[in-house]
């Protein structure tokens, strides 16, 4: 244990890792604080760079950029009422109300302080949950993996803030994309339409870059430019945060726990964690009437929650290769590329690398406090950069980055295509996150499904016979039936309107 820890320290204390961590932190802070550029996009655009780094440095960039970007989204949320990332959308109104009351320092300070606390809590959960789960996961066969993947996909559709039918459809589209290529049980070209470029299948990373980055530039073409942040001087940022920590101890802990749970659930990420925690904070608050008027309580809980979900999102990713959210989906791609294939054995064979990941999460969250304060103070300068100077650079990064992944131009075509697909889907209420999960998990789901079918000689029964498999199957079935029940209930309610209370 101590030896592994020392090894982990040795792994991360190289210049390459330190520089990568710092550079990615600054990058994450800037991208996250620019409205319209999400944390997922920041991470996706980093992937081509990680190709050329050592495994630990590559993971360091992903960890640092995603952690910083989630916090940095709070900055324009508080100053402009425009969330920098979707994860800050839940409480942007509240934070902006605080700024108007003259409490911008408190709102932003709460953002940076409780984000760091949440991030560290999330990391602890990763350290505590992952190794024992790995023990259990060692006995999993393809049946369990199939149900687990199925459950993950269903979760992704349940938590989407849109019609569940559309979310399921989006997931199927993603799975269909994953069908392309010759990497299937028969090894025959499938849906390649005679194009050799499609033989290798559609790479998830260019697809992600298209869906999250190109589609965003497309949207920017049609939306008005957000106003620049007014210049202002800030007082002490961290003043009063310790008092808040003591006062809202319960809320903070609850936010951490909710964030961790939602992070572990496949497909549900930081934005979901923030929405749920904010609603929860309001529900259980002693003074719910203050919410919406610039009250810090909800900020504490939701800010702690969204950062906690980032680290715990790595639990299913590292154990099963099932991403906890879209950022983890990208991280899985990087892990595979770097020879750290997700799976329960990772925790025994590559234990020092795992410890290195924990350490990097903790360092990134500690680093967030000083860097975040600097960023807040510089925000009014950095965020004055007009959109018309940032989007072109993003376009170039999309083109070069997707080319760099395979050193061929087909990657750029993929990015452009998925830009259009992502844009059209999002415009019509199909959640792209569900599709992304389908793309990332497709091959694994199919492998688990078909291998299980071959083992069982085409019979469905063995899918339910093993004990853990049966439990997972029941959960998965519940996830399928739940929206149907909800829908029926809604219909019944509408047919018989509630009687008016007398009086």
């Amino acid at each position: 244990m101590l030896n592994t820890l020392m090894d982990a320290f040795a792994l991360i204390s190289t210049w390459e890792v330190v520089i990568a961590l710092l550079a990615a932190s600054v990058y994450g802070l800037v991208i996250g604080s620019l409205p319209g550029l999400s944390a997922t996009m920041a991470t996706a655009l980093l992937v081509p760079v990680t190709f050329y780094l050592s495994p630990i440095a590559a993971i360091a960039t992903i960890v640092a950029a995603s952690t910083m970007a989630i916090f940095a989204g709070d900055i324009p949320g508080a100053l402009l009422r425009i969330p920098g990332t979707p994860a800050s959308a839940a409480y942007a109104d509240e934070a902006y109300a605080m700024t108007r009351k003259g409490e911008a320092e408190l709102a932003l300070g709460a953002g940076v302080w409780f984000s760091a606390v949440g991030g560290i809590a999330g990391t602890l959960s990763l350290m505590i949950l992952a190794p024992p789960l790995a023990e259990v996961a060692l006995s999993f066969s393809t049946f369990e993996y199939f149900w687990l993947a199925f459950l993950g996909l269903m979760c992704a559709t349940l938590v989407a803030r849109s019609s569940p039918v559309k979310a399921i459809a989006a997931m199927f589209i993603g799975l269909l994309v994953a069908c392309v290529g010759i990497e299937n049980p028969g090894g025959v070209p499938r849906f390649t339409f005679g194009l050799t470029d499609l033989f290798g299948g559609i790479e998830p990373i260019p697809a992600l870059v298209g869906v999250f980055a190109v589609a965003q530039v497309m949207r920017a073409m049609l939306t008005p430019e957000p106003p620049p942040i007014p210049r202002r001087k800030f007082g002490s940022i961290l003043a009063g945060q310790w008092n808040l920590t003591k006062k809202y101890n319960v809320q903070m802990t609850r936010g951490n726990i909710i964030g961790i749970i939602i992070g572990v659930l496949p497909g549900a990420g930081a934005d979901m964690a923030a929405w749920v925690s904010y609603a929860m904070s309001k529900r259980f608050s002693k003074e719910p009437e203050k919410f919406g008027t610039g009250h810090v309580e909800g900020l504490v809980e939701a800010g702690a929650s969204n950062n906690a979900s980032i680290a715990s999102g790595w639990v299913p990713s590292l154990l099963f290769g099932i991403p906890g959210d879209t950022i983890a989906a990208i991280a899985i791609g990087v892990l595979y590329m770097k020879g750290l294939n997700p799976g329960p054995t990772l925790f025994t064979e590559k234990a020092s690398s795992m410890y290195a990941i924990y350490l990097m999460f903790i360092i990134a969250n500690l680093l967030m406090i000083p860097l975040g304060i600097v960023m807040i103070r510089l925000a009014s300068h950095v965020l004055r950069a007009p959109r018309s100077s940032i989007m072109p650079v993003i376009m170039l990064c999309c083109a070069v980055g997707s080319f760099a992944i395979g050193n061929n131009m087909f990657g750029v075509v993929t990015v452009a295509t998925f830009g259009i697909i992502g844009y059209v889907m999002e415009e019509n209420g199909y959640p792209v996150a569900a599709m992304v999960l389908g793309i990332v998990m497709g091959t694994m789901v199919e492998q688990a499904f078909v291998t299980s079918l071959i083992k069982s000689d085409g019979s469905i029964l063995p899918f339910f016979e093993r004990p853990i498999s049966a439990i997972l199957a029941a959960m998965a079935m519940g996830a399928v039936i739940w929206p149907v029940l909800l829908w029926l209930w809604q219909r019944l309610k509408r047919k018989s309107p509630a009687p008016k209370p007398a009086g």
Binding site: V217, P392, E446
Partner: protein, 161 residues
């Protein structure tokens, strides 16, 4: 590009049907009941069913109406023209232009054109767009070609490094 659910739903029915049929046609693994054909068959059927449900408006009650955040202090927006929506297609079109032209023109020139076009489309004046179009490609070239050794096309204008 907001299409009625009927349109997107019907499209999904077609897509799912095509996928299921395409899967059906694939040869199975010799001596096995299942092979590469099963998964597309299942997915395609599921997709077609979802498309059908969407066409008939099932589940639309769950959709939240999009909140429009009013932008304070902004001037009245000009009414969008008939082809305003097509502007959204500019970014993918520029990427395809990159695919077509980069090998011949080289990275620097193609990238400069892309940057200039994107910046102008987003409302930048030439005073901003022109220096950006010169500097951004050089910067990206430095990072990707020099530092990360990505073989970017040289074309007409080779860089001195």
């Amino acid at each position: 590009m907001r299409l009625p659910d009927r349109v997107t739903g019907s499209f999904l029915v077609l897509l799912g049907g095509a996928a299921a049929y395409g899967g059906w046609l694939l040869p199975p693994v010799p001596g096995q009941p299942v092979g590469p054909n099963v998964f597309p068959l299942v997915i395609g059927t599921g997709l077609a069913l979802c498309g059908l449900a969407i066409t008939f408006g099932i589940g639309s009650t769950f959709e939240e109406k999009e909140e429009i955040v009013p932008i304070e202090g902004g001037e009245a927006k000009a009414p969008p023209g008939k082809f305003y929506g097509l502007r959204a297609l500019l970014p993918p079109a520029l990427l395809l232009f990159y695919v077509a032209a980069a090998d011949r023109l080289g990275f620097i020139i193609t990238a400069a054109l892309i940057v200039y076009a994107t910046a102008t489309a987003l409302g930048a004046r030439w005073k901003l767009a022109l220096p950006l179009a010169v500097l951004a490609p050089i910067g990206i070239h430095l990072i990707f070609s020099k530092l990360l050794r990505v073989p970017l096309p040289i074309g007409l204008l080779p860089m001195p490094w």
